[in-house]
């Protein structure tokens, strides 16, 4: 039978695991991603899970998903999936729309009972017809087979059913020709302390794998070609982990110990988790009583001479805004990472959006400029976290780094940097020559205040939120002095444009139209531009990682184009910012505010629509 199998060679494939939020879909998806990355594939992942920890079992609200894109030329988790795993009728209903025509759905047919269909609010007894599913459906009796595989283990039924995700994992591994040993290696490490649990999972993974083998004749098997990537040592990294690691790298390169003051908030908490583990590198990550405590403890640590960081999401950024103003006023280095989610208010806590840009740029009292950066991909989080820390320390300013749920939870293969790849960060310490005459708001030639580390004799000083005299650094209410200090703080931040990379063009650089975005939309826009150029549509692209200040060639570069299309996951926040900075631009918008990343096709269609309208 096996000889008759169709083997499809594809550049890349997309798999989506879905089930109840208690079904372990994130774990199955993660292991499958790691297995693939270990075989040299490029990967990009997208966990899509509900806000509730445990919504009612089998309900539409409780469906959790994990999508992974593996193979060659992978920049996004993919618009549509080739294979959908649905552990129950609700999961199938919620995710069928992501399955491409001609793809395959694997369902646990044991859950497709009348009760299961009712819970998922099906109105007929033919779910495939009702969902208009144009795909091959593999009806696997997963529950039955898991119970069968574990019948001799003495496990109770509840524990047995917890292993269903591993059956799906085994089946998908077989489907994509992953060796059986690879997932078992991950499971062995995960359950090192619980040999019984490992043994059960091993039985079930093998059961799934063998089941796939046994039904071989009825499934198309995909084989995935590996991507050709730069030589080096690679690992798989999520955006949140990369952010944490980038901050540690900056600590090592600056010689300033790393401090994190944080408060748990979805989807930023994994940065706290990773840095809390890194006490083994001397990192002091502490969980405070609230968001304000998080940033204020970081400001205290910054005053004490640490590389100080606070991490949050949109609602937390709102709570931290007064303290951010204090860091602006005291001119202390501080990195604030905002992992954006759908808002306003509690909004869509687990979904992605780019709607905090206005808040990051403008959300403080008074004239309070600070630096705003945005990371473009999970691996770019490492680089941008490093840059955020470098700018904060070298320019004595708070820096907001914007990431979002999409890249924070998504992951990619990442080439581990080699020694010397990242530059030394040079804190602006009080020079020995100034020690006698130093006052706390004395500045270097670039207008940057010096950093006096507590414990140093002779540099005792007072900082605080009240306006200071430009020369003496003591409290001042003088109107002219205040205006001068406002301008000094503005210039200090504006001057950072000289210390960041310029914007680069991609795509058809001779075109009249350019599309740009910022942050996590990079991969989708790049794919869209490639697709458009392949169709003969002339369009260039650039991407903004440094938002305030903008790279110094921004105005010149964008002014070359008749039309500037800004694609972003909000109602035009970057577009409005650019228009205010460069008024002569003809800006058109592609916006989406659904708590979901762009689909490449949406950008392609958006560009085509704009181009048609512009012609008239």
């Amino acid at each position: 039978m096996a000889e008759k199998a169709k083997v499809q060679f594809r550049q890349s494939i997309v798999v989506r695991f879905s089930g109840d939020s208690g079904d372990g879909m994130q774990l199955a998806g993660n292991i499958f991603s790691n297995v693939s990355a270990g075989l040299g594939d490029r990967i990009s992942t997208f966990p899509d899970y509900p806000a509730e920890v445990r919504a009612p079992q089998g309900s539409l609200g409780g469906v959790s998903g994990f999508q992974v894109h593996i193979g060659h030329g992978v920049h996004t988790p993919g618009d549509e999936c080739d294979v959908l795993v649905a552990m129950n009728p609700a999961a199938l209903k919620q995710n069928a729309r992501f399955l491409r025509k001609g793809g395959a759905a694997i369902v646990d047919i044991d859950t497709f009972t009348q009760a299961g269909l009712d819970k998922a609010l099906y109105t007929t007894d033919d779910p495939y017809e009702e969902l208009n599913l144009k795909a091959q459906v593999i009806e696997a009796p997963i529950t039955t087979m898991v119970k069968e595989a574990l019948k001799d283990t003495g496990m109770d039924l509840k524990s047995q059913l917890k292993c269903r995700n591993m059956f799906a994992l085994g089946l998908v591994c077989w489907l994509f020709n992953r060796p059986m040993e690879a997932p078992l290696k991950f499971l062995k490490a995960k359950f090192a302390e619980k040999p019984d649990v490992y043994a059960a999972n091993e039985l079930v993974v093998k059961g799934g794998y063998n089941y796939g083998h046994n039904i071989h004749a009825t499934v198309s098997t995909y084989r995935i070609q590996s991507d050709d990537v730069r030589p080096g040592t690679y690992t798989d990294v999520s955006g949140n982990k990369a952010t944490a690691w980038g901050l540690i790298m900056a600590s090592e390169m600056s010689g300033r110990p790393l401090f994190l003051g944080s408060y748990p908030i979805t989807p930023a908490t994994d940065i706290l988790h990773e840095l809390a583990k890194r006490r083994d590198l001397g990192v002091k990550a502490i969980q405070m009583e609230d968001e304000i405590g998080g940033i204020c403890s970081a400001i205290g640590a910054s005053f004490a001479g640490h590389l100080a960081v606070t991490t949050t999401s949109g609602p937390g950024l709102a709570l931290k805004s007064e303290a951010l103003g204090l860091a602006v006023m005291a001119e202390l280095p501080l990195v604030l990472v905002d992992v954006q989610r759908g808002g306003p208010s509690t909004g869509l806590p687990t979904k992605t959006e780019q709607t905090d840009l206005n808040q990051a740029l403008y959300g403080r009292s008074g004239e309070s400029p600070l630096v705003v950066l945005a990371a473009a991909s999970p691996t770019d989080c490492f680089k941008m976290a490093f840059q955020a820390a470098r700018i904060a320390i070298e320019h004595m300013t708070p820096v907001i780094l914007l990431t979002d749920a999409f890249i924070a939870n998504g992951s990619s293969a990442w080439r581990i940097p080699e020694e010397g790849e990242y530059p030394a960060i040079k804190p602006n310490y009080v020079p020995a020559s100034l020690k006698e005459s130093w006052t706390p708001f004395m500045r270097n030639a670039l207008g940057i205040r010096y950093w006096a580390i507590p414990g140093t004799p002779g540099l005792e000083h007072v900082v605080g939120g009240l306006e200071k005299d430009y020369n003496q650094g003591v409290i001042s209410n003088d109107p002219i002095n205040h205006a001068h200090m406002v301008e000094t703080r503005r210039m200090k931040v504006a001057n950072i444009a000289n210390y960041i990379p310029e914007l680069k063009l991609k795509g058809d650089t001779g075109a009249d139209t350019i599309i740009l975005g910022w942050g996590s939309t990079y991969g989708h826009i790049l794919d869209a531009v490639t697709r458009l150029n392949d169709e003969g549509i002339r369009i260039a692209m650039t991407h903004i990682r440094y938002i305030n200040p903008l790279p110094k060639n921004t105005a010149e570069l964008l002014s070359r184009f008749k039309t500037v299309i800004v694609a972003e996951l909000n109602n035009g926040q970057l577009a409005n910012y650019l228009q205010s900075k460069i008024p002569n631009l003809n800006i058109c918008h592609i916006n989406k505010v659904q708590g979901q990343p762009f689909l490449v096709q949406e950008i392609v269609d958006g560009v085509k629509n704009i181009m048609m309208e512009e012609e008239f």
């Binding site: 040299g40 030589p231 690992t235 204020c296 403890s297 400001i299 205290g300 640590a301 004799p457 605080g464």
Partner: protein, 344 residues
């Protein structure tokens, strides 16, 4: 001394070594002047150098204090001094940290940071200047104003009960609580010195007078003629005796306390309680701290001082343990310890 943070040593520092050249701008007659002077004197007696001393505050009249010190000082934002001090001390346990706060700053807007700072037992000396009024905003009731208190924002009197800072401290499982009056310079110095020596969050409440907006709010106990009978100076290991003639004592009365005259009603000196500030249970400390000057005298001095692990030391110990256990020297080691693969 098992730790080197409160490096108490005999070195000749003068109070003015901790004072900068800025003019002090509190109103004439404000109790804060006395607190600043006693603090500078305490610092010089402790002998911790100015560069190893930090003074951190929030917002309010009392929170201006850091601006007058020659230390590493930080005037932060309203209510957040405790959180800033927590980060500062955790980052650098070598520094001796004083936090200065008021009843509004500490117990209203900063209430959450206060209880958690106390609960964590971060080694900070917290001076809580309690004048039962908002002074900087010109006269509104505070969380320590008595029920019915009339102010600009409560013209018909407040309809809420006040916090009693000691009760809140014990509720947050505080390890140190002391009290003094702005006019009691010797006791103020004693409690500040003891607060500095205590390893943990030392809450020092100083009943302080606002000349402008709440003049005389504490005079029932602070006036010279009232003070001996309406206050008691508690000292660990000593009998609880007070009064003009030092013939009054505190005795146990069922589950409560009672003030008696020694030699009357059959009470002798042997019946008078001996203060035990180091007792693990805060039950008696709480009864002592709740004495309000009517039937029982207001307790001054160190009411509670018990040993417990400090937050910043525990964090530093975990760092050392984790470093030793995992043996990583840099980020690269951590990354390479995970799953990696080579691309040729």
């Amino acid at each position: 001394m098992e730790q080197n943070n409160n490096n108490i040593q005999e070195k000749a520092y003068k109070p003015l070594d901790y004072k900068n050249d800025q003019p002090v701008r509190w109103c004439p007659g404000c109790g804060d002047h006395a607190v600043l002077n006693v603090l500078l004197k305490s610092m010089s007696h402790l002998g911790i150098p100015p560069e190893k001393t930090a003074v951190i505050s929030g917002i309010g009249c009392s929170s201006r204090l850091p601006y007058y010190t020659h230390t590493y000082a930080f005037h932060t934002i309203h209510g957040r001094g405790g959180a800033v001090a927590t980060g500062f001390k955790t980052a650098n346990p070598e520094m001796t940290v004083w936090q200065v706060s008021g009843d509004g700053d500490c117990l209203a807007i900063g209430g959450n940071h206060f209880i958690h700072e106390v609960r964590r037992n971060i080694n900070v000396n917290l001076l809580l200047l309690n004048n039962r009024i908002y002074g900087l905003t010109k006269g509104q009731f505070s969380p320590t104003s008595a029920r019915g208190f009339k102010s600009k924002s409560s013209p018909y009197g407040t309809v809420e009960d006040p916090f009693i800072p000691a009760e809140l401290t014990f509720g947050a499982r505080g390890t140190f609580f002391a009290r003094s009056l702005d006019v009691e310079l010797n006791i103020s110095q004693e409690v500040m010195m003891e607060a500095a020596k205590h390893k943990g969050c030392s809450v020092v409440e100083i009943l302080q007078n606002c000349m402008i907006f709440n003049n005389g709010i504490h005079s029932y106990i602070t006036d010279r003629e009232n003070r001996p009978d309406r206050t008691i100076h508690l000292v660990h290991g000593e009998k609880m005796i007070f009064g003009k003639d030092m013939n009054r004592g505190i005795v146990q009365d069922g589950f409560g306390l009672k003030a008696v005259t020694i030699g009357e009603d059959g009470y002798t000196i042997d019946d008078v309680l001996v203060h035990d500030a180091h007792c693990e249970s805060s039950f008696v400390h709480q009864m002592l701290a709740m004495m309000d000057g009517t039937d029982l005298p207001v307790a001054l001095g160190v009411i509670r001082a018990v040993d417990a692990p400090t937050y910043e030391t525990a964090v530093a110990e975990q760092v050392e343990e984790a470093k030793a256990k995992h043996g990583f020297t840099c980020l690269h080691d951590v990354i390479m310890s995970g799953d990696t693969w080579q691309v040729e």
